[in-house]
């Protein structure tokens, strides 16, 4: 066909027809609110993110330090992947998935396919149009990001905006975004084209989110082999696991990320190509199947009924009147049941239910491999499983509710039944209720499947019995309101917009925004409608914390559900509205009347919401508390920070608890002694914000200290000269914790019906803290300063203790009164116990002076060993023996290696998992239920033993030797505890577990260190991001390497001297003091100095790569040849071993016998050397540092399977 001018009509031919389809669809998409809504959402997110709120964890957090740019290619790549996976994918599923279904609904198929248009042209035209539409969105997204990042002026986020480089935006779009779009659009297209089921198109984004967020992107224990890790990287088609594991987890330095392009390897290139192949292949397959369906080339299936009426002579039918029919109107419930019945029939025929149920089951079964502290497999209890899966269930079921409810409401219109259906006398409320009830059954099916899955997990685990109670509580009481309000919101969205796409846009947009504010930490009880991550489970303390907020939140949500339902009934249009009347109804008076009609439904949600807002505002993380803390800081920081003060010589306390009301009463007296060299005119003590009815005494007489925003300043009648003492008495009562959290945060100390945990040094929960507390009132983005920089000779001064209050030793005397059902544990030994009038009264005294005190109440059973005891909840006996063994071993071996344990008993007390920590207070270790009591110990991961050993070590470090106040001090506590754990583990548990522990802490350090802000051990003070891992993990490893360098006996002797020197000294040590003592015992001081310079005064960390590794048969033996390179920093002698067999098998056989041959090398930074190892056996692997004696990065890459070099010189395939 040609136009009059003779030019060829572009619509002619196959390409022309394809272009025609493409053009129609593309133009249609450009007008659709779906795409504009996506752009709006992406624009909003880009605006928010331009503030620097999501950046790579790298860079120097200090002023003037280089920050990681959010505009680097790495940052944009990571962000792009997340956006595509979480945001785009849902809109793609609607846009792509509904494209063919929409044509079916509009019945244009017959007309289209009666033309020359082939199925392939139709399918490809549609697909390319949808793809082009999303590419257009992507371009708009990039444009907005560039605008917000580089054009709009910046204030506080200046540091994180780098120079504009177009490639930083385009390359991630081409490498990560585009292939994923091709894949997602293609697969969504295929699902809809092949199944014609609208709901199934959402299976893809759901699968991406579920498996990504809860598995691929998170699960990476230290013991995972590199090969398996690479397979998982390939399987995660989003690319996020690859970029994290390859480039981001181990910090390469901010300079690298800010300036380098994302390096691609064969795996990611192959994966991106695979994405494109999958996407295009899916479309191709769809085209083929579409062609078959269209031409009806499939014959009738067996069982198909006859297509025509039988040729019979029909008898004359009777009159209609004889049927005696009566019209009426179905009752409310009868109508709802009938609608629900119809819906349910549709649901059962729908394949979705058979797809989404297995999805949740897979997620639940993943709990079997969940890991906790030190990648130790968790022991799941019913409550833990119930709460752990709440987020997954919320996400999956809310998505299912969105899709199924919308399609259910749309069903009559799509099927054409609407004119008949809506003309029946069925009440609208009845219809809505029936539909929602049926779709609720789907949610119920998923929940029941999850319940079944959890039961199977517990069965496989074989330790903890199944108990439906926690599930009923967590899923029944807490989740059901979420599903009700979401269903009502979806219904209201559909009713308000009048079409399915409007409802999808509102629904997906609401979820995306909710998720975004959750991630930004801006969520609170007031708006957390899905209580995402706001709920903690404790077998011991079931929803005690923040219970009032939880109840109000659920009531608010239920009220919102009623409001949305009322809105739905009001807005749902069975009768098509008249446009003119609609305009009239939007006049203020009409709107006001409508709002008034809705007002009663708003009372409950509004009331509860306001109450929650007030609770949060006045709660322990609220603005009121923050203001009081800021006042404390503002008033006192200039005057009292670093001021000298006396330390505790004795503490005499009377404590009374009313756990049901979270009330405590405290009365006591501190005896303070001035251990400084100065005369003190004033003595400050910090009180708690929750304290009420406070009164003071000084040396026995009533006193009125100066109150400075909760810092109480005493002026003794006579200045306190060095060595002088004074007594400060106090009486107070209060509620602790006082108020609710912002969004479900835990708490380290508390008074609750299930128990009490209070320490005397973390804060003034029940007794004052002597001195000014510098961290109170400091907010990271407001008034946090850069770390104090100490002079290099700072350590030479006579330094006070890191905890000034416990500068010296003190005696404690604590009396505790509480409910009879709660047992007590406190510092020291119990000297008396009695129960009278429903109250338990105990008295405790320190049998030897201590440097801290704590109080714990709970319901326990107790298991005792030689001078040790474990107090545990009766439901958690699983690891008690292991913990007891660790305590016994610690008492014995730490006592032998360092100094005898000076106290009578070492106790360990379990407390509810309202915070995940353990704390080694003298004689009474507090231990959370969820970091050691509920784990499954394995040789490669044994949190129960390791954490107990670590906390037991604190009895020595710092309870016996308190580090000084200054840089590196905390390393002498936490790092030493890790080092002690290394020794104890090897002593008590053997080499395998010791190696596993070393690898765990090394892995943690490697994945969290921030290269640009890492400071040497002698300088680190815990104030910068990444410091904690340096203190604990690098510190512990450094001490371990020093131990090997010095030799066991020398090193242990040095530690004993260190203890003797500083145990009672007024001068408290820093690392330099420690090293000075160590050096005295070092056999080779030159080697010692070299080592210390690198590992304590430097920030070196080597990383080894093996290249050209091969094994060669030579003269009856084998030779392994390779090149080893240190691509990290530091100079260390390193062992490399050729091995065969399994080193630590479950069962030793002849086949897995382990053999090894080793060589030793010393490699400097960037240095590469050849290594040859002769073996009497055929080696299989080459492993660098097989005994984990040297701290390194990415250890898994320093291990390789050996290839055989054939006689022709070529390497055989593996």
């Amino acid at each position: 066909m040609s136009s009059a001018s003779g030019a060829r009509d572009p619509r002619a031919g196959s390409l022309g027809r394809l272009f025609e389809v493409f053009q129609r669809e593309f133009i249609h998409n450009l007008r659709r609110p779906l795409f504009w809504m996506l752009i709006l959402l992406l624009g909003l997110l880009s605006w928010e993110l331009s503030g620097g709120h999501a950046s790579i964890s790298s860079g120097d957090a200090r002023v003037g330090g280089t920050k990681a740019w959010i505009t680097s290619e790495y940052a944009i790549s990571q962000l792009m992947i997340l956006m595509i996976s979480i945001i785009y994918s849902f809109f793609v599923s609607v846009g792509a998935g509904m494209s063919l279904i929409r044509d079916g609904d509009q019945k244009v198929g017959e007309l289209l396919h009666a033309t020359r248009l082939t199925p392939g042209e139709y399918v490809w035209g549609k697909y390319l149009a949808v793809l082009a539409s999303f590419v257009w969105v992507l371009l708009m997204h990039l444009g907005l990001a560039m605008l917000f990042n580089h054009v709009i002026p910046h204030g506080e986020n200046r540091d994180v905006i780098g120079p504009f480089v177009l490639g930083n935006y385009l390359r991630p779009a081409l490498i990560f975004a585009l292939p994923m779009l091709v894949c997602a659009v293609g697969v969504s297209f295929a699902i809809s084209g092949l199944t014609r089921q609208p709901v199934l198109v959402f299976a893809l984004p759901l699968a991406i989110l579920l498996f990504g967020a809860f598995f691929f992107w998170e699960w990476s224990p230290a013991w995972l082999s590199l090969a398996v890790n690479r397979v998982l990287q390939f399987a995660d088609l989003t690319g996020l696991r690859w970029i994290n594991e390859t480039w981001l987890n181990v910090d390469k330095g901010v300079d690298f990320y800010n300036h380098q392009r994302v390096g691609l390897d064969a795996l990611i290139v192959a994966q991106r190509i695979l994405c494109v192949i999958v996407g295009l292949g899916a479309v191709g397959f769809t085209g083929l199947r579409f062609a078959i369906q269209l031409r009806g080339s499939r014959g009738p299936r067996r069982g198909d009924a006859a297509a025509t009426a039988p040729d019979l002579i029909r008898p004359e039918p009777a009159l209609l009147g004889e049927l005696s029919m009566r019209s009426g109107a179905p009752g409310f419930w009868a109508g709802a049941i009938e609608v629900a019945r119809g819906e349910f029939r549709e649901l059962l025929k729908h394949p979705g239910i058979y797809l989404f149920v297995p999805m949740i089951l897979i997620q639940v079964f993943g709990s079997i491999v969940d890991t906790g502290a030190f990648d130790t497999p968790l022991l799941n209890t019913p409550g833990i499983l119930a709460v752990k899966n709440m987020n997954t269930l919320t996400l999956l079921i809310c998505m299912l509710i969105l899709f199924y409810t919308v399609e259910s409401l749309q069903r009559e219109r799509s099927s054409g039944l609407a004119p008949i259906h809506y003309a029946t006398p069925l009440q609208t409320t009845s219809m809505l209720l029936g539909k929602c009830a049926a779709n609720t059954l789907l949610g119920l099916a998923v929940v029941l499947a999850a319940l079944g899955g959890c039961a199977i997990v517990l069965l496989v685990q074989g330790k903890v019995p199944f108990d439906p109670g926690p599930f009923a509580l967590a899923w029944g009481l807490l989740l059901v309101p979420t599903f009700l309000v979401w269903t009502a919101f979806v219904c209201a969205s559909f009713a308000a917009t009048g079409n399915r796409y409007g409802a999808y846009v509102l629904g997906i947009g609401a979820m995306a925004l909710t998720g975004f504010y959750q991630m930004r930490g801006k969520m609170s009880w007031t708006f957390n409608w899905d209580i995402w991550s706001a709920v903690r489970w404790s077998d011991i303390s079931v929803f005690e914390l923040d219970r009032s907020a939880l109840v109000l939140n659920r009531l608010m949500v239920l009220g919102l559900a009623a409001l949305f339902l009322a809105l739905t009934v009001r807005l749902f249009a069975r009768r098509e509205a008249d446009a003119t009347r609609l305009v009239h109804s939007l006049r203020p008076r009409a709107l006001g009347r409508a709002a008034l009609a809705m007002a009663p439904f708003a009372i409950v949600p509004l009331g509860c919401g306001l109450a929650l807002a007030f609770l949060v505002h006045g709660g322990r993380e609220g603005e009121t508390t923050k203001k009081l803390q800021r006042d404390y800081w503002k008033k006192n920081v200039e005057t009292w920070k670093g001021a000298k003060c006396p330390s505790l010589a004795a503490a005499d306390l009377d404590l009374e608890f009313d756990p049901r009301a979270s009330q405590l009463r405290s009365k006591g007296e501190y005896t303070l002694v001035n251990r400084t060299a100065d005369t003190l005119l004033q003595v400050p003590v910090t009180g708690g914000l929750h304290w009420k009815k406070v009164s003071w005494t000084m040396d026995g007489a009533p006193a009125r200290p100066e109150e400075r925003a909760r810092l109480y300043v005493f002026a003794p009648p006579h200045p306190l000269a060095p060595g002088d003492r004074m007594r400060i008495g106090f009486s107070l009562e209060g509620r602790y914790p006082d108020g609710v959290s912002k969004n479900g945060a835990g708490t380290m100390e508390y008074v609750l019906p299930s128990g009490v945990v209070l320490t005397g040094f973390s804060g003034p929960a029940f007794a004052p803290i002597v001195g000014y507390m510098p961290d109170v009132g400091v907010e990271p983005d407001k008034n946090k300063t850069d770390p104090h920089e100490y002079p290099d000779d700072y350590w030479r001064r006579v330094l006070p203790a890191a905890l000034p209050m416990f500068d010296g030793w003190c005696d404690t005397h604590i009396r505790i009164i509480g409910p009879a059902e709660l047992q007590h544990n406190a510092t020291g030994v119990m000297v008396s116990e009695k129960v009278e009038n429903g109250r338990r009264i105990t008295e405790w005294r320190s049998d030897s002076p201590v440097r801290a005190f704590n109080v714990v109440l709970g319901r326990w059973k107790v298991k005792r060993g030689d001078g040790v005891a474990v107090y545990y909840d009766a439901r958690h006996p699983y690891n008690v023996d292991e913990m007891l063994e660790a305590l016994v071993a610690a008492r014995r071996w730490y006592g032998e290696w360092f100094a005898p344990y000076p106290w009578k008993e070492l106790k360990l007390s379990e407390f509810p998992g309202l915070a995940s920590y353990a704390q080694g207070s003298p004689t009474n270790i507090t231990f959370s239920e969820n970091i050691g009591f509920l784990t499954r110990s394995e040789p490669k991961a044994n949190a129960a033993f390791w954490i107990t050993a670590h906390e037991a070590a604190h009895q020595w470090w710092p309870c016996m030797v308190m580090p000084g106040e200054g840089p590196g001090g905390e390393v002498l506590s936490e790092g030493m505890a890790h080092f002690s754990t290394i020794l104890l583990t090897e002593q008590a548990r053997g080499l395998e577990q010791r190696i596993a522990f070393c690898k765990e802490i090394e892995h943690r350090y490697g994945n969290t260190r921030q290269r640009d802000s890492e400071r040497p051990l002698v300088k680190v003070d815990g104030s910068l991001p990444g410091d904690q891992r340096i203190i604990y993990d690098r510190g512990g490893y450094a001490f371990w390497m020093l131990y090997q360098l010095m030799g066991r006996e020398s090193n242990l002797a040095a530690h004993r001297e260190y203890l003797r020197t500083f145990r009672a000294s007024v001068d408290h040590p820093l690392i330099e003091d420690y090293l000075a003592v160590m050096r005295h015992h070092a056999p080779d001081t030159t080697a010692f100095d070299g080592f210390v310079k690198q590992w304590f005064f430097g920030t070196v960390v080597p990383q080894y790569l093996i290249a050209d590794a091969e094994r060669v048969r030579t003269e009856g033996a084998w030779e392994v040849r390779a090149r080893l390179k240190n691509v990290g920093t530091g100079v260390m002698p390193i062992e490399i071993a050729a091995t065969r067999g399994e080193r630590f098998p479950k069962r030793r056989t002849k086949e897995n016998a382990w053999r090894h041959a080793r060589a030793m090398l010393t490699l400097g930074a960037g240095e590469e050397k050849a290594v040859t190892i002769r073996c009497a056996f055929e080696p299989e692997k080459l492993i660098v540092d097989p005994d984990a004696r040297v701290l390194m990065l990415e250890r898994q890459k320093a291990e390789i399977k050996l290839r055989l070099k054939r006689e022709d010189g070529r390497l055989a395939s593996r």
Partner: protein
């Protein structure tokens, strides 16, 4: 009785689908005749409570059915022009579902009633089959079955015979006639034969206005003696159309058998006077220009009055 006063419907565009319709529909069968786009379906949907009018009123037995559409639904049997069913349900399941939603009761139970109704519409053989396997005619018959169910006071059928073969159409006529004995049956169609067979009264609507309300006999009588029929060649037909009021032109063996309306009584050469049919009357009314001129009041044009005589009102 249905009383409609000043009913207006304006769609966004703007498109005025109804331009102030006044109509009384008595008990019995009443036809609404008009071309595509005349506003018939709009009127049906408004009465069935599926479309909100822009203005106007409508009552059923004195009760306002526009402000409270739910009041009509309990007394309504409705067969829309375009509709569908849940594809996965069988015909019987679908019908029972709708019977329940309509609150229909029967002495033998709904399952038996559904079987009886399906028998009435000749769908018993396909009762257990999924609706998605039904032909267009079968779906239409299922739609008829649900519209007849219960004891509705008002039955609205919109283009009900579309997709039915002649035998089924006749069968449907019997059903409707039985229904119309003691209730209001409003039949909307563009097929004149349906009105001729079924409706003692009908109204003609075009472009949103009611042109006439009359009976088939009165409509025929109004043009009696003015219809002439003859045969012309294809080349003569265009000239004839220009100079005469051609009501029909059917091709028969290569020539056009043409009917013309000649109120002056002077036919074209070779044409003979024939008995006027209702179709002739309808087509005369639908002629462009003639029908549109002189609308007043309820939209009954002067020309139509001159052509059709005074409307005949059947006593209630």
């Amino acid at each position: 009785m249905i009383q409609i006063r000043s009913l207006v419907k304006v769609y966004p565009g703007p498109v005025t689908a109804l331009q102030g319709v006044d109509l009384d529909v008595p008990v019995g069968m009443f036809g609404l005749l008009g071309p595509n786009g005349a506003g018939k379906t709009t009127l049906m949907r408004i009465l069935a409570g599926l479309l909100e009018p822009t203005s106007g009123t409508a009552t059923l037995d004195g009760e306002d059915i526009l402000s409270r559409p739910e009041r009509v639904r309990a007394r309504l049997g409705y067969l829309p022009q375009e509709f569908g069913f849940y594809p996965h349900l069988s015909g019987q399941q679908m019908l029972i579902h709708l019977l329940r939603l309509k609150g229909v009761e029967a002495p033998g139970g709904l399952k038996r009633l559904a079987s009886e109704l399906l028998e009435r519409v000749n769908l018993s053989f396909a009762a257990k089959r999924a609706v998605k396997s039904y032909s267009g005619g079968m779906r239409q018959r299922l739609g008829i079955a649900q519209a007849l169910a219960g004891n509705p006071r008002l039955v609205i059928v919109d283009e009900p015979t579309a997709g039915l073969d002649p035998e089924e159409r006749l069968h449907f006529y019997h059903l409707l006639a039985e229904l119309a004995e003691d209730r209001i049956v409003l039949l909307s169609t563009h097929i004149v034969e349906d009105v001729a067979v079924l409706c003692p009264q009908f109204a003609v609507i075009r472009a949103g206005r009611l042109l006439a309300k009359t009976t088939p006999r009165a409509a025929r009588q109004a043009i009696e003696g003015a219809i002439f029929e003859g045969t012309v060649s294809p080349s003569e037909l265009p000239d004839l159309r220009r100079t005469r009021s051609v009501t029909q032109a059917i091709l028969v063996e290569g020539c056009h058998r043409v009917r013309v309306y000649e109120p002056g009584g002077v036919p074209p050469p070779g044409f003979e006077r024939v008995t006027a049919t209702l179709e002739d009357a309808y087509l005369v009314l639908m002629r462009p220009g003639q029908g549109a001129a002189g609308f007043e009041g309820n939209g009954e044009p002067e020309a139509a009055k001159r052509r059709l005589g005074d409307p005949v009102r059947i006593p209630e």
